[in-house]
Symmetry: C2
Subunit: 306 residues, 2 copies
Protein backbone atom coordinates (compact mmCIF):
# COMPACT_ATOMS: atom_id res chain seq x y z
CA UNK A 1 0.00 0.00 0.00
CA UNK A 2 1.32 3.41 -0.91
CA UNK A 3 1.15 5.78 2.03
CA UNK A 4 -0.15 9.27 1.27
CA UNK A 5 2.34 11.96 0.41
CA UNK A 6 0.26 14.69 -1.12
CA UNK A 7 -0.23 18.43 -1.07
CA UNK A 8 -3.57 20.24 -1.20
CA UNK A 9 -3.54 23.83 -2.42
CA UNK A 10 -5.82 25.94 -0.21
CA UNK A 11 -4.73 29.30 -1.59
CA UNK A 12 -2.26 30.49 -4.17
CA UNK A 13 -2.99 34.14 -4.87
CA UNK A 14 -0.56 37.00 -4.44
CA UNK A 15 -1.09 39.79 -1.90
CA UNK A 16 -4.08 41.45 -3.58
CA UNK A 17 -7.26 39.52 -2.87
CA UNK A 18 -9.43 38.37 -5.75
CA UNK A 19 -12.96 37.01 -5.87
CA UNK A 20 -11.75 33.58 -6.89
CA UNK A 21 -8.47 32.91 -5.15
CA UNK A 22 -7.29 32.73 -1.58
CA UNK A 23 -3.96 33.95 -0.22
CA UNK A 24 -1.22 31.38 0.29
CA UNK A 25 -1.91 28.20 2.25
CA UNK A 26 -1.25 24.53 1.57
CA UNK A 27 -1.67 21.32 3.50
CA UNK A 28 0.83 18.55 3.12
CA UNK A 29 -0.32 15.11 4.17
CA UNK A 30 2.81 13.05 4.75
CA UNK A 31 1.91 9.55 5.80
CA UNK A 32 -0.94 10.85 7.92
CA UNK A 33 0.99 13.77 9.40
CA UNK A 34 -0.60 17.05 8.35
CA UNK A 35 1.58 20.12 7.89
CA UNK A 36 -0.06 23.45 7.18
CA UNK A 37 2.25 25.63 5.08
CA UNK A 38 1.41 29.31 5.41
CA UNK A 39 -1.96 30.41 6.64
CA UNK A 40 -3.43 33.29 4.67
CA UNK A 41 -6.81 34.81 5.50
CA UNK A 42 -9.56 32.26 4.83
CA UNK A 43 -7.45 29.16 5.50
CA UNK A 44 -10.04 27.81 7.95
CA UNK A 45 -12.72 28.12 5.31
CA UNK A 46 -10.59 26.33 2.73
CA UNK A 47 -9.68 23.54 5.13
CA UNK A 48 -13.39 22.91 5.66
CA UNK A 49 -14.04 22.98 1.93
CA UNK A 50 -11.33 20.35 1.44
CA UNK A 51 -12.67 18.29 4.36
CA UNK A 52 -9.41 18.42 6.27
CA UNK A 53 -9.96 17.92 9.96
CA UNK A 54 -8.41 20.81 11.92
CA UNK A 55 -7.45 18.49 14.75
CA UNK A 56 -5.09 16.53 12.48
CA UNK A 57 -2.88 19.55 11.93
CA UNK A 58 -0.12 19.52 14.52
CA UNK A 59 2.46 21.54 12.59
CA UNK A 60 2.26 24.92 10.91
CA UNK A 61 5.12 26.36 8.85
CA UNK A 62 4.98 30.10 8.17
CA UNK A 63 7.38 31.25 5.46
CA UNK A 64 7.46 34.95 6.34
CA UNK A 65 5.55 37.71 8.03
CA UNK A 66 3.74 39.37 5.16
CA UNK A 67 0.06 39.41 5.98
CA UNK A 68 -1.10 37.35 3.03
CA UNK A 69 0.89 34.43 4.45
CA UNK A 70 -0.30 34.46 8.09
CA UNK A 71 -3.43 36.56 8.64
CA UNK A 72 -5.48 33.37 8.90
CA UNK A 73 -3.48 32.03 11.84
CA UNK A 74 -5.29 33.74 14.71
CA UNK A 75 -8.67 32.65 13.34
CA UNK A 76 -7.46 29.08 13.03
CA UNK A 77 -6.02 29.05 16.56
CA UNK A 78 -9.22 30.61 17.95
CA UNK A 79 -11.27 27.86 16.38
CA UNK A 80 -8.96 25.19 17.81
CA UNK A 81 -9.56 26.74 21.24
CA UNK A 82 -13.33 26.73 20.71
CA UNK A 83 -13.07 23.07 19.66
CA UNK A 84 -11.35 22.22 22.94
CA UNK A 85 -8.13 20.99 21.36
CA UNK A 86 -5.66 19.28 23.70
CA UNK A 87 -2.76 18.28 21.41
CA UNK A 88 0.40 20.30 21.01
CA UNK A 89 0.51 22.70 18.09
CA UNK A 90 3.96 23.40 16.67
CA UNK A 91 4.54 26.61 14.75
CA UNK A 92 7.73 27.09 12.73
CA UNK A 93 8.12 30.77 11.95
CA UNK A 94 10.04 33.98 12.49
CA UNK A 95 10.51 34.41 16.23
CA UNK A 96 8.46 37.61 16.10
CA UNK A 97 5.31 35.67 15.29
CA UNK A 98 5.26 34.38 18.84
CA UNK A 99 5.08 37.94 20.19
CA UNK A 100 2.32 38.80 17.71
CA UNK A 101 0.25 35.72 18.51
CA UNK A 102 0.71 36.16 22.25
CA UNK A 103 -0.56 39.74 21.99
CA UNK A 104 -3.59 38.60 20.01
CA UNK A 105 -4.47 35.77 22.40
CA UNK A 106 -4.15 38.09 25.39
CA UNK A 107 -6.34 40.66 23.67
CA UNK A 108 -8.94 37.98 23.02
CA UNK A 109 -8.67 36.82 26.64
CA UNK A 110 -7.48 33.46 25.37
CA UNK A 111 -4.20 33.53 27.31
CA UNK A 112 -4.77 29.93 28.24
CA UNK A 113 -5.65 28.18 24.98
CA UNK A 114 -6.01 24.82 26.74
CA UNK A 115 -3.29 23.21 24.60
CA UNK A 116 0.43 23.93 24.20
CA UNK A 117 1.40 26.21 21.33
CA UNK A 118 5.10 25.67 20.74
CA UNK A 119 6.97 28.16 18.61
CA UNK A 120 10.12 27.10 16.78
CA UNK A 121 12.05 30.11 15.48
CA UNK A 122 13.35 29.76 11.93
CA UNK A 123 16.98 30.30 10.99
CA UNK A 124 17.19 32.71 8.08
CA UNK A 125 20.94 32.30 7.57
CA UNK A 126 21.21 28.66 6.60
CA UNK A 127 19.20 25.51 5.96
CA UNK A 128 18.11 23.76 9.13
CA UNK A 129 16.18 20.61 9.98
CA UNK A 130 13.10 21.77 11.89
CA UNK A 131 11.35 18.41 12.32
CA UNK A 132 12.50 14.82 12.08
CA UNK A 133 11.14 11.44 13.01
CA UNK A 134 11.35 7.94 11.53
CA UNK A 135 9.17 8.76 8.60
CA UNK A 136 9.76 12.38 7.73
CA UNK A 137 12.35 15.13 7.75
CA UNK A 138 11.45 18.79 7.29
CA UNK A 139 14.08 21.36 6.40
CA UNK A 140 13.66 25.12 6.35
CA UNK A 141 16.00 27.06 4.08
CA UNK A 142 16.45 30.77 3.45
CA UNK A 143 15.02 32.34 0.32
CA UNK A 144 15.45 35.88 -0.96
CA UNK A 145 12.51 38.18 -0.31
CA UNK A 146 12.03 41.76 0.90
CA UNK A 147 11.87 40.46 4.44
CA UNK A 148 13.32 37.31 5.99
CA UNK A 149 11.67 34.34 4.37
CA UNK A 150 12.14 30.57 4.40
CA UNK A 151 11.14 27.77 2.07
CA UNK A 152 10.33 24.31 3.40
CA UNK A 153 11.43 20.91 2.15
CA UNK A 154 9.70 17.68 3.15
CA UNK A 155 11.60 14.40 2.73
CA UNK A 156 10.17 11.00 3.37
CA UNK A 157 12.80 9.01 5.26
CA UNK A 158 14.36 6.03 3.51
CA UNK A 159 12.42 2.93 4.42
CA UNK A 160 13.62 -0.64 4.81
CA UNK A 161 12.96 -3.12 2.03
CA UNK A 162 10.12 -5.62 2.56
CA UNK A 163 11.31 -9.19 2.97
CA UNK A 164 9.44 -11.79 0.88
CA UNK A 165 7.76 -14.14 3.38
CA UNK A 166 8.01 -17.20 1.16
CA UNK A 167 11.80 -16.82 1.06
CA UNK A 168 12.06 -17.00 4.85
CA UNK A 169 10.54 -20.47 4.71
CA UNK A 170 12.35 -21.52 1.58
CA UNK A 171 15.84 -20.74 2.92
CA UNK A 172 14.99 -21.21 6.63
CA UNK A 173 16.15 -17.66 7.42
CA UNK A 174 16.51 -17.12 11.20
CA UNK A 175 14.72 -14.12 12.69
CA UNK A 176 18.00 -12.49 13.75
CA UNK A 177 19.03 -12.23 10.09
CA UNK A 178 15.87 -10.49 8.92
CA UNK A 179 16.84 -6.96 9.95
CA UNK A 180 20.17 -7.31 8.13
CA UNK A 181 18.46 -8.54 4.97
CA UNK A 182 15.94 -5.69 5.16
CA UNK A 183 18.91 -3.33 5.42
CA UNK A 184 20.46 -4.83 2.25
CA UNK A 185 22.54 -7.88 3.28
CA UNK A 186 22.69 -11.12 1.28
CA UNK A 187 21.90 -14.37 3.12
CA UNK A 188 24.33 -17.28 3.48
CA UNK A 189 22.59 -20.62 3.86
CA UNK A 190 23.98 -23.38 6.13
CA UNK A 191 25.10 -25.04 2.90
CA UNK A 192 27.25 -22.00 2.16
CA UNK A 193 25.05 -20.94 -0.76
CA UNK A 194 24.78 -17.15 -1.06
CA UNK A 195 21.29 -15.85 -1.77
CA UNK A 196 21.58 -12.34 -3.16
CA UNK A 197 19.57 -9.68 -1.34
CA UNK A 198 17.65 -8.84 -4.52
CA UNK A 199 16.07 -12.30 -4.44
CA UNK A 200 14.89 -11.90 -0.86
CA UNK A 201 13.25 -8.50 -0.75
CA UNK A 202 10.91 -6.16 -2.52
CA UNK A 203 12.82 -2.90 -2.48
CA UNK A 204 11.29 -0.06 -0.51
CA UNK A 205 9.62 2.72 -2.42
CA UNK A 206 12.06 5.51 -3.20
CA UNK A 207 11.59 8.25 -0.60
CA UNK A 208 9.48 11.09 -1.92
CA UNK A 209 10.13 14.78 -1.50
CA UNK A 210 8.37 18.11 -1.86
CA UNK A 211 9.42 21.71 -1.38
CA UNK A 212 7.56 24.98 -1.06
CA UNK A 213 9.16 28.22 -2.28
CA UNK A 214 7.05 31.34 -1.83
CA UNK A 215 7.86 34.25 -1.77
CA UNK A 216 11.28 34.68 -3.31
CA UNK A 217 13.29 36.38 -5.99
CA UNK A 218 15.27 34.14 -8.33
CA UNK A 219 17.81 32.68 -5.94
CA UNK A 220 20.30 30.07 -7.05
CA UNK A 221 21.74 29.78 -3.55
CA UNK A 222 18.78 27.69 -2.51
CA UNK A 223 19.37 25.04 -5.19
CA UNK A 224 21.38 22.73 -2.89
CA UNK A 225 18.36 22.64 -0.60
CA UNK A 226 16.14 21.66 -3.54
CA UNK A 227 18.11 18.89 -5.16
CA UNK A 228 16.24 15.88 -6.52
CA UNK A 229 12.72 16.88 -5.55
CA UNK A 230 9.74 14.96 -6.85
CA UNK A 231 7.62 18.09 -6.74
CA UNK A 232 8.58 21.72 -6.34
CA UNK A 233 6.08 24.51 -5.68
CA UNK A 234 7.71 27.78 -6.67
CA UNK A 235 6.08 31.17 -6.86
CA UNK A 236 5.83 32.74 -10.32
CA UNK A 237 4.34 36.14 -9.64
CA UNK A 238 5.34 37.83 -12.91
CA UNK A 239 5.69 37.26 -16.64
CA UNK A 240 9.00 37.87 -18.43
CA UNK A 241 8.02 41.34 -19.59
CA UNK A 242 7.79 42.41 -15.96
CA UNK A 243 11.17 41.00 -14.94
CA UNK A 244 12.21 44.39 -13.60
CA UNK A 245 9.20 44.56 -11.26
CA UNK A 246 9.93 40.98 -10.18
CA UNK A 247 13.45 42.00 -9.23
CA UNK A 248 12.33 45.17 -7.43
CA UNK A 249 9.71 43.34 -5.39
CA UNK A 250 11.82 40.22 -4.73
CA UNK A 251 9.47 37.94 -6.60
CA UNK A 252 10.09 35.53 -9.49
CA UNK A 253 8.94 35.17 -13.07
CA UNK A 254 7.62 31.89 -14.46
CA UNK A 255 10.85 31.51 -16.40
CA UNK A 256 12.89 31.89 -13.22
CA UNK A 257 10.77 29.37 -11.34
CA UNK A 258 11.32 26.93 -14.20
CA UNK A 259 15.08 27.56 -14.15
CA UNK A 260 15.18 26.70 -10.45
CA UNK A 261 13.19 23.53 -11.13
CA UNK A 262 15.54 22.63 -13.95
CA UNK A 263 18.80 23.41 -12.11
CA UNK A 264 17.69 21.50 -9.02
CA UNK A 265 16.54 18.49 -11.04
CA UNK A 266 12.93 18.53 -9.87
CA UNK A 267 10.54 15.94 -11.24
CA UNK A 268 7.67 18.38 -11.58
CA UNK A 269 7.02 22.08 -10.99
CA UNK A 270 3.86 23.68 -9.64
CA UNK A 271 3.58 27.45 -10.04
CA UNK A 272 1.30 29.98 -8.35
CA UNK A 273 1.15 33.36 -6.54
CA UNK A 274 0.40 35.15 -9.81
CA UNK A 275 0.08 38.92 -9.75
CA UNK A 276 -3.48 40.17 -10.18
CA UNK A 277 -2.22 42.41 -13.00
CA UNK A 278 -2.66 39.46 -15.36
CA UNK A 279 -6.15 38.37 -16.34
CA UNK A 280 -4.87 34.82 -16.79
CA UNK A 281 -1.56 33.15 -15.91
CA UNK A 282 -1.26 31.86 -19.51
CA UNK A 283 1.84 33.87 -20.40
CA UNK A 284 3.64 32.96 -17.17
CA UNK A 285 2.70 29.33 -17.68
CA UNK A 286 3.91 29.08 -21.25
CA UNK A 287 7.14 30.90 -20.42
CA UNK A 288 7.79 28.44 -17.59
CA UNK A 289 6.88 25.42 -19.70
CA UNK A 290 9.37 26.49 -22.39
CA UNK A 291 12.16 26.12 -19.82
CA UNK A 292 10.77 23.24 -17.77
CA UNK A 293 8.14 21.22 -19.65
CA UNK A 294 6.73 19.37 -16.65
CA UNK A 295 5.17 22.50 -15.18
CA UNK A 296 1.61 22.81 -13.91
CA UNK A 297 -0.43 25.68 -12.56
CA UNK A 298 -1.34 25.11 -8.90
CA UNK A 299 -5.12 24.88 -8.77
CA UNK A 300 -6.83 25.76 -5.51
CA UNK A 301 -8.77 22.89 -3.94
CA UNK A 302 -6.71 20.38 -5.92
CA UNK A 303 -4.56 17.70 -4.34
CA UNK A 304 -1.30 16.67 -5.95
CA UNK A 305 0.16 13.23 -5.30
CA UNK A 306 3.92 13.32 -4.83
CA UNK B 1 -35.31 58.07 -8.96
CA UNK B 2 -35.08 55.97 -5.81
CA UNK B 3 -31.67 56.25 -4.22
CA UNK B 4 -30.13 52.95 -3.06
CA UNK B 5 -30.69 51.89 0.52
CA UNK B 6 -29.69 48.27 0.54
CA UNK B 7 -27.73 45.74 2.56
CA UNK B 8 -25.51 43.00 1.12
CA UNK B 9 -24.83 39.98 3.33
CA UNK B 10 -21.14 39.03 3.06
CA UNK B 11 -21.14 36.57 5.94
CA UNK B 12 -23.72 35.34 8.43
CA UNK B 13 -22.25 32.27 10.13
CA UNK B 14 -21.68 31.88 13.85
CA UNK B 15 -18.21 31.52 15.38
CA UNK B 16 -17.42 28.05 14.01
CA UNK B 17 -16.35 28.25 10.39
CA UNK B 18 -18.13 26.15 7.79
CA UNK B 19 -17.26 25.28 4.21
CA UNK B 20 -20.14 27.32 2.90
CA UNK B 21 -20.57 30.33 5.11
CA UNK B 22 -18.45 33.26 6.17
CA UNK B 23 -18.34 34.90 9.58
CA UNK B 24 -20.32 38.08 10.09
CA UNK B 25 -19.97 40.99 7.69
CA UNK B 26 -22.45 43.14 5.81
CA UNK B 27 -22.24 46.18 3.59
CA UNK B 28 -24.91 48.81 3.73
CA UNK B 29 -25.16 51.09 0.73
CA UNK B 30 -27.04 54.17 1.87
CA UNK B 31 -27.44 56.63 -0.97
CA UNK B 32 -23.94 55.82 -2.20
CA UNK B 33 -22.32 55.85 1.26
CA UNK B 34 -20.93 52.39 2.04
CA UNK B 35 -20.86 51.19 5.62
CA UNK B 36 -19.17 47.91 6.43
CA UNK B 37 -20.82 46.30 9.46
CA UNK B 38 -18.51 43.82 11.17
CA UNK B 39 -15.55 42.37 9.33
CA UNK B 40 -15.09 38.64 9.89
CA UNK B 41 -12.25 36.68 8.31
CA UNK B 42 -12.70 36.58 4.54
CA UNK B 43 -14.55 39.89 4.24
CA UNK B 44 -12.12 41.10 1.56
CA UNK B 45 -12.84 38.01 -0.49
CA UNK B 46 -16.58 38.46 -0.16
CA UNK B 47 -16.41 42.15 -1.06
CA UNK B 48 -14.64 41.18 -4.29
CA UNK B 49 -17.19 38.47 -5.00
CA UNK B 50 -19.96 41.03 -4.61
CA UNK B 51 -18.07 43.56 -6.75
CA UNK B 52 -18.00 46.18 -4.03
CA UNK B 53 -15.15 48.58 -4.51
CA UNK B 54 -13.01 48.74 -1.36
CA UNK B 55 -12.31 52.41 -1.89
CA UNK B 56 -15.99 53.29 -1.49
CA UNK B 57 -16.02 52.06 2.09
CA UNK B 58 -15.27 55.00 4.38
CA UNK B 59 -16.99 53.71 7.51
CA UNK B 60 -16.65 50.44 9.40
CA UNK B 61 -18.85 49.55 12.38
CA UNK B 62 -17.61 46.72 14.60
CA UNK B 63 -20.25 45.39 16.99
CA UNK B 64 -17.91 43.67 19.44
CA UNK B 65 -14.49 42.14 19.86
CA UNK B 66 -15.14 38.46 19.32
CA UNK B 67 -12.84 37.27 16.55
CA UNK B 68 -15.54 36.14 14.16
CA UNK B 69 -16.67 39.78 13.93
CA UNK B 70 -13.35 41.54 13.29
CA UNK B 71 -10.54 39.14 12.23
CA UNK B 72 -10.88 40.34 8.65
CA UNK B 73 -10.13 43.96 9.56
CA UNK B 74 -6.33 43.88 9.44
CA UNK B 75 -6.38 42.15 6.04
CA UNK B 76 -8.80 44.72 4.69
CA UNK B 77 -6.74 47.65 6.02
CA UNK B 78 -3.52 46.09 4.64
CA UNK B 79 -5.09 45.87 1.22
CA UNK B 80 -6.24 49.49 1.40
CA UNK B 81 -2.62 50.42 2.15
CA UNK B 82 -1.35 48.37 -0.80
CA UNK B 83 -3.94 50.09 -2.98
CA UNK B 84 -2.58 53.50 -1.99
CA UNK B 85 -5.78 54.74 -0.39
CA UNK B 86 -5.86 58.42 0.58
CA UNK B 87 -9.36 58.92 2.03
CA UNK B 88 -10.16 58.87 5.71
CA UNK B 89 -11.36 55.57 7.12
CA UNK B 90 -13.67 55.82 10.12
CA UNK B 91 -13.94 52.87 12.47
CA UNK B 92 -16.69 52.76 15.10
CA UNK B 93 -15.79 50.14 17.69
CA UNK B 94 -14.76 49.37 21.23
CA UNK B 95 -11.89 51.69 22.14
CA UNK B 96 -9.60 48.67 22.57
CA UNK B 97 -9.73 47.92 18.85
CA UNK B 98 -7.55 50.96 18.24
CA UNK B 99 -4.81 49.51 20.44
CA UNK B 100 -5.09 46.13 18.69
CA UNK B 101 -4.98 47.59 15.21
CA UNK B 102 -2.09 49.92 16.10
CA UNK B 103 -0.08 46.93 17.36
CA UNK B 104 -0.78 45.00 14.18
CA UNK B 105 0.14 47.87 11.87
CA UNK B 106 3.36 48.49 13.79
CA UNK B 107 4.20 44.80 13.61
CA UNK B 108 3.62 44.85 9.86
CA UNK B 109 5.74 47.99 9.58
CA UNK B 110 2.71 49.83 8.27
CA UNK B 111 2.78 52.51 10.97
CA UNK B 112 2.10 55.08 8.31
CA UNK B 113 -0.82 53.70 6.31
CA UNK B 114 -0.85 56.75 4.02
CA UNK B 115 -4.43 57.64 4.97
CA UNK B 116 -6.06 58.65 8.26
CA UNK B 117 -7.65 55.85 10.25
CA UNK B 118 -10.00 57.51 12.70
CA UNK B 119 -11.34 55.47 15.58
CA UNK B 120 -14.62 56.42 17.21
CA UNK B 121 -15.12 54.60 20.52
CA UNK B 122 -18.58 53.18 21.07
CA UNK B 123 -20.67 53.90 24.15
CA UNK B 124 -21.92 50.64 25.62
CA UNK B 125 -24.17 52.30 28.20
CA UNK B 126 -26.69 54.09 26.02
CA UNK B 127 -27.72 54.70 22.44
CA UNK B 128 -25.60 57.31 20.72
CA UNK B 129 -25.53 58.93 17.30
CA UNK B 130 -22.16 57.98 15.80
CA UNK B 131 -22.58 59.54 12.36
CA UNK B 132 -24.89 62.16 10.95
CA UNK B 133 -25.10 64.23 7.83
CA UNK B 134 -27.91 65.61 5.66
CA UNK B 135 -28.84 62.24 4.30
CA UNK B 136 -28.13 59.70 6.99
CA UNK B 137 -28.03 59.17 10.73
CA UNK B 138 -26.32 56.17 12.32
CA UNK B 139 -27.00 55.22 15.91
CA UNK B 140 -25.14 52.64 17.98
CA UNK B 141 -27.05 51.08 20.85
CA UNK B 142 -26.04 48.58 23.53
CA UNK B 143 -27.09 44.95 23.19
CA UNK B 144 -26.68 42.14 25.70
CA UNK B 145 -23.81 39.78 24.94
CA UNK B 146 -21.03 38.09 26.92
CA UNK B 147 -18.83 41.07 26.22
CA UNK B 148 -19.71 44.67 25.43
CA UNK B 149 -21.58 44.73 22.17
CA UNK B 150 -23.47 47.32 20.13
CA UNK B 151 -26.08 47.13 17.42
CA UNK B 152 -26.30 49.77 14.70
CA UNK B 153 -29.30 51.59 13.30
CA UNK B 154 -29.24 53.44 10.00
CA UNK B 155 -31.88 56.09 9.34
CA UNK B 156 -32.31 57.97 6.14
CA UNK B 157 -32.91 61.63 7.03
CA UNK B 158 -36.27 63.11 6.19
CA UNK B 159 -36.06 64.79 2.83
CA UNK B 160 -37.80 67.90 1.59
CA UNK B 161 -40.78 67.53 -0.69
CA UNK B 162 -40.21 68.19 -4.40
CA UNK B 163 -41.94 71.32 -5.65
CA UNK B 164 -43.88 70.88 -8.89
CA UNK B 165 -42.23 73.21 -11.42
CA UNK B 166 -45.42 73.96 -13.32
CA UNK B 167 -46.97 75.35 -10.14
CA UNK B 168 -44.19 77.90 -9.74
CA UNK B 169 -45.12 79.38 -13.10
CA UNK B 170 -48.85 79.00 -12.60
CA UNK B 171 -48.96 80.86 -9.27
CA UNK B 172 -45.90 83.07 -9.92
CA UNK B 173 -44.22 81.79 -6.77
CA UNK B 174 -41.16 83.88 -5.85
CA UNK B 175 -37.88 82.02 -5.25
CA UNK B 176 -37.75 83.08 -1.60
CA UNK B 177 -40.99 81.14 -0.95
CA UNK B 178 -39.79 77.88 -2.42
CA UNK B 179 -37.87 76.63 0.60
CA UNK B 180 -40.91 77.29 2.82
CA UNK B 181 -43.16 75.39 0.49
CA UNK B 182 -40.70 72.47 0.31
CA UNK B 183 -40.75 72.45 4.10
CA UNK B 184 -44.57 72.20 4.12
CA UNK B 185 -45.97 75.75 3.93
CA UNK B 186 -49.01 76.73 1.88
CA UNK B 187 -48.65 79.60 -0.60
CA UNK B 188 -50.69 82.81 -0.47
CA UNK B 189 -51.09 84.45 -3.88
CA UNK B 190 -51.12 88.24 -4.30
CA UNK B 191 -54.87 87.88 -4.72
CA UNK B 192 -55.05 86.41 -1.23
CA UNK B 193 -55.96 82.96 -2.55
CA UNK B 194 -54.44 80.19 -0.42
CA UNK B 195 -52.89 77.30 -2.40
CA UNK B 196 -52.59 74.29 -0.11
CA UNK B 197 -49.12 72.76 0.13
CA UNK B 198 -50.41 69.42 -1.12
CA UNK B 199 -51.21 70.99 -4.50
CA UNK B 200 -47.69 72.39 -4.87
CA UNK B 201 -45.41 69.50 -4.02
CA UNK B 202 -44.75 65.81 -4.56
CA UNK B 203 -44.14 64.51 -1.05
CA UNK B 204 -40.68 63.12 -0.29
CA UNK B 205 -40.25 59.39 0.01
CA UNK B 206 -40.71 58.21 3.60
CA UNK B 207 -37.24 57.87 5.19
CA UNK B 208 -36.05 54.26 5.28
CA UNK B 209 -34.33 52.51 8.16
CA UNK B 210 -32.31 49.41 8.89
CA UNK B 211 -30.76 47.93 12.03
CA UNK B 212 -28.19 45.24 12.69
CA UNK B 213 -28.37 43.19 15.91
CA UNK B 214 -25.67 40.56 16.29
CA UNK B 215 -24.63 39.16 18.75
CA UNK B 216 -27.15 39.49 21.54
CA UNK B 217 -29.35 37.65 23.99
CA UNK B 218 -33.05 38.48 23.95
CA UNK B 219 -33.01 42.07 25.11
CA UNK B 220 -36.17 44.14 25.29
CA UNK B 221 -34.26 47.20 26.45
CA UNK B 222 -33.10 47.79 22.92
CA UNK B 223 -36.62 48.01 21.52
CA UNK B 224 -36.79 51.83 21.75
CA UNK B 225 -33.71 51.95 19.52
CA UNK B 226 -35.42 49.69 16.99
CA UNK B 227 -38.83 51.30 16.64
CA UNK B 228 -40.42 51.46 13.21
CA UNK B 229 -37.65 49.84 11.18
CA UNK B 230 -38.22 48.83 7.60
CA UNK B 231 -35.76 45.98 7.97
CA UNK B 232 -34.20 44.40 11.05
CA UNK B 233 -31.32 41.93 10.94
CA UNK B 234 -31.32 40.01 14.22
CA UNK B 235 -29.18 37.03 15.10
CA UNK B 236 -31.02 33.74 15.66
CA UNK B 237 -28.28 31.38 16.72
CA UNK B 238 -30.46 28.73 18.34
CA UNK B 239 -33.75 26.87 17.98
CA UNK B 240 -36.34 26.87 20.79
CA UNK B 241 -35.22 23.51 22.16
CA UNK B 242 -31.82 25.06 22.92
CA UNK B 243 -33.17 28.14 24.68
CA UNK B 244 -31.06 27.35 27.71
CA UNK B 245 -27.84 27.36 25.69
CA UNK B 246 -28.96 30.58 24.04
CA UNK B 247 -29.34 32.18 27.47
CA UNK B 248 -26.02 30.85 28.74
CA UNK B 249 -24.11 32.06 25.70
CA UNK B 250 -25.98 35.38 25.39
CA UNK B 251 -27.41 34.54 22.00
CA UNK B 252 -31.01 34.49 20.76
CA UNK B 253 -33.42 31.93 19.40
CA UNK B 254 -35.37 32.49 16.21
CA UNK B 255 -38.49 32.98 18.30
CA UNK B 256 -36.79 35.68 20.34
CA UNK B 257 -35.54 37.48 17.24
CA UNK B 258 -39.10 37.43 15.92
CA UNK B 259 -40.45 38.80 19.21
CA UNK B 260 -38.04 41.71 19.01
CA UNK B 261 -39.13 42.35 15.41
CA UNK B 262 -42.75 42.20 16.45
CA UNK B 263 -42.43 44.38 19.56
CA UNK B 264 -40.43 47.04 17.72
CA UNK B 265 -42.84 47.10 14.77
CA UNK B 266 -40.31 46.15 12.10
CA UNK B 267 -41.50 45.81 8.54
CA UNK B 268 -39.37 42.77 7.87
CA UNK B 269 -36.95 40.53 9.76
CA UNK B 270 -33.76 38.92 8.44
CA UNK B 271 -32.23 36.19 10.59
CA UNK B 272 -28.74 34.64 10.55
CA UNK B 273 -25.75 33.61 12.71
CA UNK B 274 -27.10 30.07 13.04
CA UNK B 275 -25.19 27.63 15.19
CA UNK B 276 -23.36 24.94 13.22
CA UNK B 277 -25.07 22.34 15.43
CA UNK B 278 -28.04 22.48 13.06
CA UNK B 279 -27.72 20.95 9.60
CA UNK B 280 -30.27 23.46 8.31
CA UNK B 281 -31.84 26.56 9.86
CA UNK B 282 -35.32 25.23 9.01
CA UNK B 283 -36.47 24.81 12.62
CA UNK B 284 -35.22 28.26 13.64
CA UNK B 285 -36.85 29.77 10.57
CA UNK B 286 -40.25 28.21 11.09
CA UNK B 287 -40.23 29.09 14.79
CA UNK B 288 -39.44 32.72 13.92
CA UNK B 289 -42.07 32.84 11.17
CA UNK B 290 -44.73 31.61 13.57
CA UNK B 291 -44.18 34.75 15.66
CA UNK B 292 -43.29 37.21 12.89
CA UNK B 293 -44.49 36.07 9.47
CA UNK B 294 -42.41 38.48 7.40
CA UNK B 295 -39.13 36.75 8.31
CA UNK B 296 -36.44 35.73 5.85
CA UNK B 297 -33.16 33.86 6.20
CA UNK B 298 -30.21 36.12 5.40
CA UNK B 299 -28.54 34.60 2.34
CA UNK B 300 -24.86 35.32 1.82
CA UNK B 301 -24.10 37.23 -1.39
CA UNK B 302 -27.66 38.48 -1.53
CA UNK B 303 -28.63 42.12 -1.48
CA UNK B 304 -31.80 43.24 0.28
CA UNK B 305 -33.52 46.47 -0.74
CA UNK B 306 -34.81 48.46 2.21
Amino acid sequence: MTMPFQVTILGSSSAMPTSEKYPTAQVLNVLGRFFLIDCGEGTQHQLRKNRINYSKINHICISHLHGDHFFGLIGFISTLILQGRKNELHIYAHSELQRYTKFQLEFLQMNDPGFPIIFHPLNFKKAQVIFEDKKLKVTAFPMNHRIQCCGFRFDEQAREANIIKEKIKEYEIPIREIKHIKAGADFICESGQIIPNSELVIPAQTPRSYAFCSDTAYYEKMIPALEGLDLLYHEATFADEDLKIAQETYHSTGTQAAKIASLSGAGKLLIGHFSTRYKTPDAIFSQAKAVFPNTEIAQENSTYQI
